[in-house]
């Protein structure tokens, strides 16, 4: 089946794509670029750099700009998925949705309206198992945004490796956060993974941070 991936550039959408690629053809990446940092549906600080990820994987990408206003952004998502169906003849969409019925309901409705399959291979996966899968699938990612206690600014740009995962698991007990960031505690950007031909290297970045909330603004990056 030819599939389009709803791709934010983070660890979850990459893992969902990786699982889908085991039996299906990945035809294109679909990326929503929201100007609203508080969007309920699409909120990834480093979304601009997904074009380099797409280039590294050799997969075409369609980008849809959205103001991120509730309901309007769903119209923009519909436009994006419809375009992917028309341009790439995809038969289904893959998402990295884990637990949010708010997000999954809306994406399922759009796919159903367009007669597309909707695959959510991470659905209901526990946070601990998700982190384990990220490791076993050799997905290297960094943290590009934080929005919860106890994350200080040293977390911005930190690679999610085994020691970071151990820290996240400890924090999940102590501070009751979701250790894989499902509640929006942090956002990630994949910098290297098995489907990449070249690694994404960040050459310069600026940290914006205050009171347990911050983002890594990547100024310059390249494939190496």
């Amino acid at each position: 089946m030819k599939l389009g991936i709803l791709f934010s550039g983070g660890k979850d959408s990459y893992l969902a794509m990786h699982l889908a690629s085991e039996d299906h053809e990945i035809s294109c990446l679909l990326t929503m670029k929201s100007s609203n940092q508080d969007s309920w549906m699409f909120h990834t600080p480093a979304i601009t750099w997904t074009n380099l990820q797409a280039e590294s994987m050799g997969i075409p990408q369609i980008i849809q700009e959205t103001e991120g206003i509730q309901d309007d952004e769903l119209d923009d998502l519909f436009t994006l998925i419809k375009k992917a169906k028309e341009d790439f003849s995809i038969q289904g969409i893959v998402t990295g949705a884990l637990a949010s019925t708010y997000q999954s309901t809306r994406i399922q409705k759009i796919c159903n309206k367009l007669n597309l399959w909707c695959f959510n291979p991470l659905w209901q996966l526990s946070q601990e198992k998700l982190l384990k899968k990220i490791q076993t699938h050799n997905i290297s990612s960094i943290i590009t945004g934080v929005a919860a206690e106890p994350f200080d600014e040293s977390w911005l740009g930190k690679e999610i490796d085994s020691s970071t995962i151990n820290e996240l698991l400890l924090y999940s007990k102590k501070y009751r956060i979701n250790p894989a960031g499902e509640g929006g505690e942090f956002e990630s950007l994949v910098i290297n993974a098995p489907m990449f031909s070249k690694k994404l290297e960040i050459l310069s970045s600026i940290i914006h941070y205050s009171n347990f909330s911050g983002r890594l603004e990547i100024m310059e990056a390249e494939l190496k």
């Binding site: 889908a20 039996d23 893959v94 409705k109 159903n112 399959w117 695959f119 991470l122």
Partner: protein, 178 residues
């Protein structure tokens, strides 16, 4: 107790979403998993509980294999059908399936005291088909316009049109405890 889990997913990729979360709930029990395409010569007798899982909204391939599910009618063991499994149970007992899209959380109200659920609760629905009226089954729970839970009047066959693995896991564990 031996449990049989029947996948109604045509695509393996759908099983991550519709089968694995149920395995997560029943994993402490002894269970086997089988796909609906391999049921024709399958012997159900070794199992005390059978759960028929749901599948993707676009996936209707299981409808081509309904005859293979007919053996369940005389199985005499406990059956729980989820979403497409609900439609399969209704079909083998000759209930009429109707077109009815329902996607998202709905409020469900219990109608009859039963071993699976009680009171009012929210449930995650995702289906394009349902049943209008049932004759062989009792309606255990309803949402505003839809039958949400049924049980057969003679056999221990239950159906839920929603996905209990998403927000109502206790319905699956209650089924195992019957």
């Amino acid at each position: 107790m031996k449990i049989l889990l029947i996948s109604t997913c045509k695509e393996k990729l759908s099983e991550y979403e519709f089968v694995n979360p149920i395995i997560e709930i029943i994993k402490s029990f002894d269970y086997d998993l089988i796909n609906y395409r391999n049921l024709d010569t399958f012997d159900f007798q070794r199992y005390e509980k059978i759960i028929i899982c749901g599948t993707s909204l676009q996936d209707n391939d299981y409808l081509n294999y309904l005859l293979d599910f007919n053996k369940l009618k005389n199985h005499g063991k406990d059956i729980l059908g989820i979403c497409s499994g609900f439609q399969i149970i209704c079909s083998i007992f000759s209930e009429e399936i109707i077109v009815q899209e329902q996607i998202g959380m709905v409020n469900v109200e219990t109608q009859i005291q039963n071993p699976l659920a009680s009171g009012n609760f929210q449930a995650y629905n995702m289906h394009n088909f349902s049943v209008g009226e049932v004759t062989s089954f009792s309606v255990l729970a309803k949402s505003e316009n839809t039958i949400q839970m049924i049980s057969h009047k003679k056999f221990n066959a239950f159906g839920v049109s929603f996905h209990p693995e998403v927000r109502n896991q206790e319905i699956i564990t209650n089924f195992l405890l019957i």
